[in-house]
């Protein structure tokens, strides 16, 4: 139509939207001159909003008439039959493209979607697939969309033939690539659930890359895949792959050079190079060396260093010269360190673990060290770090740590009644990140008809900003006639202690502390006449002890210890070791002088990475504990309440709690002065999403026992058990340990308890 000035604009055909909405997006307004190009531009603008199916401009006198037809809204969108290609991620990705309930229906998008689905299926070997789409109009300008997929028979790879390979056999090469021809199911012991015989073009292209790098890693610099043929059997069930290769020859390294600004002396860099002259060239080795050099430089602050290996092959000699060209870039400084994801932990609690400071040279090792220290905090489940250059400057970087937190507090409260102990109330509160400050609080209370215990401890890991920790603890215990367990004596004790942990290196610290304790054993040692004969209420051993040492003991104690912990996590660690030696002894002036020495060593081995048929997630953990108590100076005997007991969920599993070790005359556990226990666990990867984050499954083999003294240690008296254990870090009750002992080396008079569980934070 001829150009005119629009005195008025009228919108027609609007149903769901308002004319106001159309006017917002219309690039024309009242009073504008409307000509051919502007109206075309207006129409395109309205189309771009994606809200309209059809737009046209008309003229009624001097009024510009905009008539639109809104795109119908999708009332329901269903897709069935797509077993092979992801159900919900597919729906999610379609939602993003605007194909979901509530969005507006675009026919072109649906066709494109159908084709895309079909191409996906063909790329995965479903050559007999059939994808139908169906759009039903509803009143109120809405539509129902249904896509149904008939997948049909998937074509399996029947045979892969590699032609032209002399130096490596077909079998060797078939192991390298991921695609595989159909073998009887028993041929894949470990990978039976993943059928690798499904053909997919991406996997094929990926495999060509793997083949290429395999040969490059063996020195075949000139290797290439000349052509690949994919052919289908007439019945469309079998796929035949023919891979034609030209191996070329294996090249050896003639010489290794360094060029560019090396920052450190060449001898240092050469020590990092694992390849040697004369050795067959390997692309992998060369790239690894380049990475090691650049990460080494990063430790000197050169975060942006680039090391690229240049190779100059000599085709006659079949040798290659490798030059590592080092471009250190600017020395980098850290502008800001930021934490995200810490909903419950204060910034300072994380920042004090940092080994990298703001306003200092960037050191990759320090950043990595900081990340591991964060991961070792009890209340952090996972910590990751990213270094980003600061826009607008060439040598400043920001270091961003993102953490995911683990429930730090546990709250247990139980009211019960047991025939042996009568009415029972117990409760414990523990929080390893109290008010986000990283301080640890533990409170425990228990009352039943036989015992009232109350204990608490408060630890501030950063009592001084350099990391000296302080723990204050106190306890009150009043127990009577523990008949079921122990040799039947009343004990009430009260004590308090304070200990300091002083770091003496990045991984180890020294522990020193002082404690005061008073214990009183009150029980009848002379017999009472019951039914005519004298019967004793307490065991012979205890009676003898009381006769010799009396009943009340007031002791001062000096606690010393050394600990070295290099585990990568405090719960569910997969690497590192945790060794500690403790030596506490009752100071002179105490009523009884005895010492208490213990050695514990926990070591993790990433056995999974040792051989490639085992998945990397397999971890072997061994946990050894040896403890000895004995008198010194004028001490005559170690009080029974300080004896060691073994057996139970946290020591030798499969034996009833505490029942492993010497017995008293009532055949109740009396404990001993020498304890050796060892727990070995093979951690098995599970398919749970929370594997090794908050759950862990393992097979265990425990061995150990308690002896009345170090001299009575008898190797074949050690008891052992084996079975399976499951650990779960529960939201409210701390670490739950459940174990079932399948084999228990039970001897006469042992009490076996195959199924055991315990919870609460063990540390």
């Amino acid at each position: 139509f001829s150009a005119f000035t629009a005195e008025e604009i009228r919108v027609e055909g609007v149903q769901r939207l308002e004319s106001g909405t159309v006017l917002t997006y219309l690039p024309l307004s009242v009073g504008d001159r409307v000509d051919q190009s502007r109206s075309a531009q207006a129409i395109r603008a309205l189309y771009d909003t994606g809200l309209f199916e059809d737009v046209s401009l008309g003229r009624d006198g001097n009024t510009l008439v905009v008539n639109v037809r809104e795109r119908p809204e999708i009332a329901s969108f269903t897709i069935e039959g797509n077993k092979q290609i992801g159900g919900d991620e597919l729906k999610e990705s379609l939602r993003q493209q605007g194909m979901a309930e509530g969005e507006l229906y675009k026919r072109a998008l649906l066709d494109q979607l159908r084709l895309e689905l079909q191409r996906q299926y063909y790329a995965n070997g479903f050559y007999a697939v059939n994808v139908e789409t169906e759009v039903t109009e509803l009143d109120g300008n809405r539509v129902d969309i249904a896509i149904n997929v008939e997948e049909g028979q998937v074509a399996k790879i029947a045979d892969i033939n590699i032609v032209g390979n002399e130096d490596f056999s077909d079998e060797e090469l078939l192991d390298v690539i991921s695609l595989e021809s159909v073998k009887p199911f028993y041929a894949h012991p470990l990978t039976f659930w993943r059928s690798r015989a499904n053909y997919s073009r991406e996997k094929l292209l990926g495999d060509m890359e793997t083949l290429n790098s395999f040969y490059q890693d063996q020195g075949y610099l000139r290797f290439n895949v000349t052509s690949i043929q994919v052919s289908l059997s007439p019945d469309k069930r079998d796929i035949f792959l023919t891979i034609n290769v030209d191996e070329g020859d294996a090249y050896t390294i003639s010489n290794i050079e360094f060029a560019g600004d090396l920052i450190v002396p060449e001898s240092n860099l050469r020590a990092l190079v694992s390849a040697r002259e004369g050795q067959t060239f390997s692309r992998q080795l060369v790239t690894d060396t380049a990475n090691r050099i650049s990460s080494g430089l990063a430790d000197f602050g050169y975060a942006f260093s680039e090391v690229d290996p240049l190779t100059r092959p000599d085709d006659e000699e079949k040798t290659v010269e490798v030059t590592f060209f080092v471009e250190p870039g600017k020395r980098a400084y850290v502008r800001r360190i930021q934490f995200s994801g810490n909903q419950k932990t204060n910034d300072e609690t994380l920042r004090r673990e940092m080994r990298q400071f703001e306003g200092a040279t960037f050191a990759r090792r320090a950043v990595e060290r900081s990340r591991v220290r964060l991961a070792r905090l009890q209340f952090i489940e996972q910590a990751t770090v990213e270094t980003e250059p600061v826009p607008g400057s060439e040598d400043l970087v920001d270091v961003d740590f993102s953490v995911s937190e683990r429930p730090a507090g546990t709250l247990q409260f139980g009211v019960g009644f047991s025939d042996a102990q009568g009415f029972l109330i117990n409760g414990s509160v523990s929080h390893s990140n109290f008010r986000g400050t990283g301080n640890r609080l533990r409170l425990q209370a228990e009352t039943n008809s036989f015992a009232r215990t109350l204990s608490g401890s408060w630890t501030d890991p950063y009592y001084t900003e350099d990391g000296i920790s302080r723990t204050i603890s106190a306890f009150y215990r009043d127990t009577e006639e523990i008949i079921r367990f122990g040799s039947g004596f009343d004990l009430n004790s009260i004590g308090a202690a304070t200990t300091f942990g002083i770091p003496i290196s990045e991984y180890s610290n020294f522990r020193i502390g002082f404690g005061v304790e008073t214990n009183e054993i009150s029980t009848r040692i002379d017999p009472i006449t019951l039914g005519g004969q004298p019967t004793f209420l307490t065991s012979a051993e205890l009676r003898q002890f009381i006769r010799q040492n009396g009943r009340e003991f007031f002791t001062y104690e000096l606690r010393t210890g050394w600990n070295r912990d290099t585990r990568n996590r405090s719960f569910f660690a997969t690497r590192g070791a945790n060794t500690s030696v403790n030596f506490d002894f009752k100071l002179p002036g105490s009523d009884v002088e005895y010492y208490n020495a213990s050695f514990t060593h926990e070591q993790f081995f990433a056995v999974g990475t040792w051989s490639d048929w085992l998945s990397d997630k397999f971890v072997f953990e061994t946990n050894l504990r040896v403890a000895d108590t004995g008198v010194w100076g004028k001490g005559r005997d170690v009080p029974p309440y300080d004896n060691y007991f073994a057996g139970g969920a946290r020591s030798v599993r499969g034996f009833q709690d505490g029942f492993l070790g010497p017995r008293d005359s009532f055949n109740n556990p009396f404990g001993g002065q020498f304890l050796t226990t060892m727990q070995n666990e093979l951690v098995i990867p599970t398919f749970l999403e929370s594997d090794n984050k908050s759950t862990r499954l393992s097979l265990f083999y425990d061995v150990g026992n308690v002896f009345s003294g170090a001299d009575e240690f008898e190797y074949d008296d050690l008891r052992s058990s084996a079975g399976a254990a499951f650990y779960w870090f529960t939201p409210f009750f701390g670490l739950l340990r459940v174990s079932y002992a399948v084999y228990v080396d039970e001897r006469p008079n042992d009490r076996v308890d195959r199924f055991q569980f315990s919870f609460g934070v063990g540390l």
């Binding site: 079909q118 050559y127 049909g152 029947a158 032609v163 032209g164 043929q229 052919s231 289908l232 469309k236």
Partner: protein, 369 residues
Amino acid sequence: CASDGGALPEPSPLPDLDRQLIRGEVLWRRSGGDGAGEKVSGFRLALDGARVYTANRNGRVSAINIEDGSLAWRTNTELRLVSGPVHIDGRLLIGTRDGELVSLSADDGSRQWAVTLSSELLVPPAAGNGTVVARSLDGRIVALELATGERRWTVERQVPTLTLRGGAAPLIDGDAVYAGLDSGKVLALSLGTGEQLWEQRVAAPAGRTELERVVDVDAELLLADGVLYAASVGDRLVSLALSSGRVRWSREIGSRTGLTFNPSQLFVTDRSSRVLATNRRSGATIWTNEALAYRNLTQPVMYKSYVMVADYEGYLHWMIPEDGTPIGYADVVGEPVRSAPVVVGDRILVLGAEGTVVAVEGVFPDAED
């Protein structure tokens, strides 16, 4: 084989004939080796008057006397054989999965020469005029001296991303060699120089997915009275002028196996194992026999003026050329038959998929009594 979707229909049962005009009598049966197994292969029977030769996937090559089925000689080449043998001038040519072309002496199977080509030799070679022409899976066509195995020329053609397993053997006629390609074309090359004489498209790829675009010319080429007949799986059967490749006529018939002829008619087994007869001059269909549909029939062969095919259960079937009515069938080998039976005088030699060779003679009971 446009995607007809879904699994393939069931093979039809044996036709119930009230009277069997012809019966097959097995003269002798001999196992030549372990054959080809279920997989598609390029194994054929090769003859030189007195003996029939077979090759097998485990590397075994056997020579059997046609007269009584006794074993003339047997050797194990220790190679991963996949095609041949082809007999010419006292030689046997066989192809391996690793791209080796080997020439053995037909007298005792001793190795004469061996050449490694660029890819698998799934398709049997052609020999003639002192030349061997081999087609490797990567689309290369190589001519070699028959006597020495020395290369003469190599021609390369693009291979589509997805093809059908198997292929048509090249055909040598005079100074030209004709080859059906996986791209749906027939190529004519000069035997001496490898120069292209002409190239004719048999079927054009159509459809949006790779599967719908498969148009391999896998059926054996047929040369009869100066006319070349070729069939593609893309539902096209053409008759080409030998000199120029010009299409004389073309019909909507797709075949994967091949065709045979008699003076006036052409016989072809199509992709769904229907047997059709067409007029040689015009290509018009005369009759269609669907009784043996989906029984995976071989290429038809003329036996005593009757049309004969073999099927997946090892049966031979005979039909009257005029109207295609079945006149008899015989259970001869008990193994799937994939390569066409070979007629020697009154005898029919059949190669089973598991390597068994059977000699059969067609008997007409009515005629005797």
